[in-house]
Each structure stands twice: as structure tokens, then as C-alpha cells.
């Protein structure tokens, strides 16, 4: 069962979407992410879609959900690396993607997050590393 890895980069989390999300995988991602934000007190989430060539309303909803859930836990979400053809299609499709910031790449995304986020209440002793949840859930 594939699991989408969540990378920790200081106060931010990075999720790179490399496979086509289907229902179960998407729901698991949402759950994992929320738990991780809570566990690590993350202040921002970067969703990297630079290798995603199709974003339909299903995917749009997942991204929107992640943004809303993160916001509730006081974290901002930035979508990075959107492909031009995807951007053009999304506009035509009419997907609003509200509450979601966008940036050209991970680096810019992090700059954006730093400018938007209040890091004074972030505290953690761990360095940047790959963070996986401890409990091995059976998928």
C-alpha cells in the first residue's frame, strides 16, 4: 500500500505528490497530514505538484480540504510547482482553490510561508528530517 511521504523542514511540512491520487490514498494523506501538523506543531504545509499533469475537481477538493484543515490547526498551505497547462485548465474549469497560496517552487513557497506565518509560537527541538508517524497503520 503506497503512502505519500511527508517531509519535515523545520516548522514546515513538504508533501510531494507523484502518483495519481485515488479516494483511499487521498483520504489517508489528509489524515496523515493533519496528524503530523498536530504532532509537530507545524506552521506551514507545502504541497508540491510539479509532476502532476492533471488536476481535476477531485484533486482540487483534496487540496482545498488540506488547506482548510491546516488552517484550523493554525498552519498555512502553499501549493508549489503548478504546471502551466494545469493552471490554464483550472481557470477554465472554474476551480477557485480558495484559501490556498501558490508559489513557483519549494524555495519560493518557503519564503512565502515565512512571510505569512507567525513563527514566534513555534517550538521544536528536532532538526529537518523525514518524519513518519509511529503507528504502523494497516491500510
Amino acid at each position: 500500500m503506497e503512502k505519500i511521504p511527508i517531509l519535515r523542514m523545520g516548522p514546515f511540512l513538504l508533501v510531494t505528490i507523484q502518483v495519481d491520487l485515488y479516494d483511499r490514498l487521498a483520504l489517508n494523506l489528509e489524515a496523515d497530514l493533519i496528524k503530523t501538523i498536530s504532532d509537530t506543531n507545524a506552521k506551514g504545509v507545502l504541497i508540491d505538484i510539479s509532476v502532476v499533469s492533471i488536476v481535476d475537481s477531485f484533486m482540487g477538493r483534496i487540496i482545498g480540504n488540506i488547506a482548510s484543515m491546516s488552517k484550523i490547526l493554525d498552519a498555512e498551505t502553499v501549493v508549489v510547482g503548478m504546471q502551466p497547462a494545469v493552471a490554464i485548465t483550472l481557470i477554465e474549469l472554474g476551480l477557485p482553490l480558495t484559501g490556498v497560496h501558490t508559489a513557483l517552487n519549494v524555495e519560493r513557497g518557503m519564503e512565502l510561508l515565512r512571510s505569512k506565518v507567525n513563527l514566534s509560537d513555534y517550538s521544536s527541538s528536532e532538526d529537518e528530517d523525514e518524519y513518519e508517524s509511529d503507528d504502523q497503520r494497516d491500510y
Binding site: V80, P84, A87, I88, L90, I91, H101, L104
Partner: protein, 287 residues
């Protein structure tokens, strides 16, 4: 009984041909230097032969009959080659009608004793030739359409340049009407340039866009929205006073879009956004 008129026509093959060619030389609109008499004769002969060969009592009024494929093809070739040579569709139509007239005249002369059959045959042949005329027209127009499509593509390619005015700043002077096809080309070029150059500001200058109505405004807003999805910002400049007036009168809401009167203003705004400063340099007194 109907077979009679077909036989008459077949027997009068050369008479019809001569009548036809004679009638054409009386028409002053013919450009001698574009096509020689010899070529005219050859084309006429080809068409007439194909027609008479395939004409039978069943298909005498049906231009779509498969037997006439040869005729239709000859007509299409004729139409296209005439179009390429610079003839107008009227000239080509006149030429083809020359065949019809020659045929009708010949028939009339050969069927004076049977007016009822002459009338019936005429009706059928007229319907047939109407079909053929339509083919001629359609082919001509299709040929022109192909040229237009090709030219439109070429124009799209050359008229949406993306200029790197500064590191991080792109400028797109849009020249000409902005329809949905053009908008897609503009968006594609712009977004790809943003990825390639890592720019964060794109200036769309519309001083070269003649008219801005709700549809064009929609296209502009889509472009701005797409740019934002890429993490960059769009500034629209070059809005002529009349355009500003039209926009307000049409009730178009541009409050979500950054607009500047000129490219220069847009540039200054872009520098400010990127926290860049342009200063006059002081030249030291002694050299």
C-alpha cells in the same frame, strides 16, 4: 424515353465542347496570361468527358451519385487551381456554367420535336448543375479557409512575444484582437516564460488591443488568475482612456486586478514590488 437526351448529348460531344469554349472567349474577364487557351480546352474536355461518360438516366438529377465522383474531383481540382492562379470564384463559376449552357443549347436544338421530354431533361440537368456549382464554391472556400487557418497560426506565433525587461519582470505587449484562441496562446507563452525565468511579475500591455468588451475583459482576467496560480502577479498597462470608459460603462469589475496607465508606470510599480530602486548616478567632479 429519358435515355434519348443522354444519347443526343453523347453524340454531340464535340459540338458542346466547341460551343462552350467559344462562349468563354467572348467573356472579357478572362486573363490570357494566367491561363492559356490550350489549357482551357484541356480542362473543358476533361470535365465534359467525365460528365458525359458517367451520365445515365438514374443519376441525371443527382449530383451526389457515386458515378459523378470523377466529375466532382475534376471540378474541385479546377476550382482550387483557378483559385491559386488568382481567378475569382465568379470567373470559375462562369466557366463551369459555360458547360451547362452549351449542353442546354445543344439539347434544345436536338429535341425540338419533343418539348415535354426536353422540359423534363432540362429540369434534371439544371438540378445536377446546381449541385456542381455548389461543389465549385465549397472547394474554393475551403481552399481559402486553409490559407486563413495557416495564417492565423503564424500570426499567433509572432504576435505574442514575451520580453524579459528585468530579472523577475516580464512584459507582454499584446497586439491585435484578443479572442479565446489567442488568449490560450498568450497564457501558454506567459506561463511557460514564468517557469523558465522564475519571474514574479508579468506586465500585460494592452495598448495594442483595439477594443475591450466583456469577453476580452474575461480573457484578461483568466490570464491574471492563471498567472496567480503560478505564484506570480499580473499588472495590466496601456489602458487607453476610451477603454477605461467602456469598462466602467459595461460594468466590468477590475477591482481585483492591478492596472497602470502605461508600461512605464507598470515598470516602476514592478521595481517597487521587488524592492528595487532606480537612481541617477552622481558623476564625480574630477575625472
Amino acid at each position: 424515353m429519358g435515355a434519348n437526351f443522354i444519347e443526343i448529348l453523347r453524340k454531340s460531344h464535340s459540338v458542346i465542347l466547341e460551343k462552350w469554349i467559344d462562349s468563354q472567349s467572348n467573356i472579357m474577364t478572362f486573363n490570357d496570361d494566367l491561363i492559356s487557351n490550350q489549357e482551357i480546352r484541356e480542362q473543358a474536355e476533361e470535365l465534359l468527358s467525365a460528365f458525359l461518360k458517367n451520365l445515365n438516366e438514374d443519376n441525371a438529377s443527382n449530383g451526389d451519385a457515386p458515378e459523378f465522383d470523377e466529375v466532382v474531383e475534376a471540378l474541385s481540382d479546377l476550382s482550387i487551381s483557378r483559385a491559386k492562379l488568382g481567378f475569382s470564384p465568379k470567373e470559375t463559376g462562369v466557366f463551369v456554367n459555360g458547360m451547362k449552357n452549351a449542353i442546354m443549347d445543344t439539347l434544345e436544338a436536338g429535341m425540338t420535336a419533343a418539348p415535354a421530354e426536353l422540359y423534363a431533361a432540362s429540369k434534371q440537368l439544371h438540378t445536377l448543375f446546381d449541385n456542381f456549382n455548389i461543389v465549385t464554391f465549397e472547394t474554393f472556400i475551403r481552399g481559402r479557409e486553409e490559407v486563413i487557418i495557416r495564417q492565423t497560426d503564424e500570426i499567433s506565433e509572432i504576435s505574442t512575444p514575451v520580453i524579459r525587461v528585468w530579472e523577475g519582470i516580464l512584459a507582454l505587449p499584446i497586439i491585435g484582437t484578443l479572442d479565446s484562441a489567442r488568449t490560450q496562446v498568450v497564457m501558454e507563452n506567459l506561463l511557460e516564460a514564468i517557469v523558465e525565468t522564475g519571474s514574479s511579475i508579468a506586465i500585460l500591455d494592452i495598448s495594442g488591443v483595439p477594443a475591450v468588451d466583456s469577453l476580452v475583459a474575461q480573457h484578461l482576467m483568466k490570464t491574471v488568475a492563471a498567472t496567480r496560480l503560478m505564484g506570480a502577479e499580473c499588472v495590466i498597462s496601456g489602458i487607453r482612456p476610451e477603454i477605461a470608459q467602456t469598462i466602467v460603462h459595461l460594468g466590468i469589475d477590475l477591482s481585483n486586478i492591478i492596472t497602470k496607465a502605461s508600461l512605464a508606470h507598470a515598470l516602476r510599480f514592478s521595481f517597487q514590488s521587488l524592492k528595487l530602486e532606480v537612481r541617477k548616478v552622481q558623476i564625480p567632479a574630477n575625472r
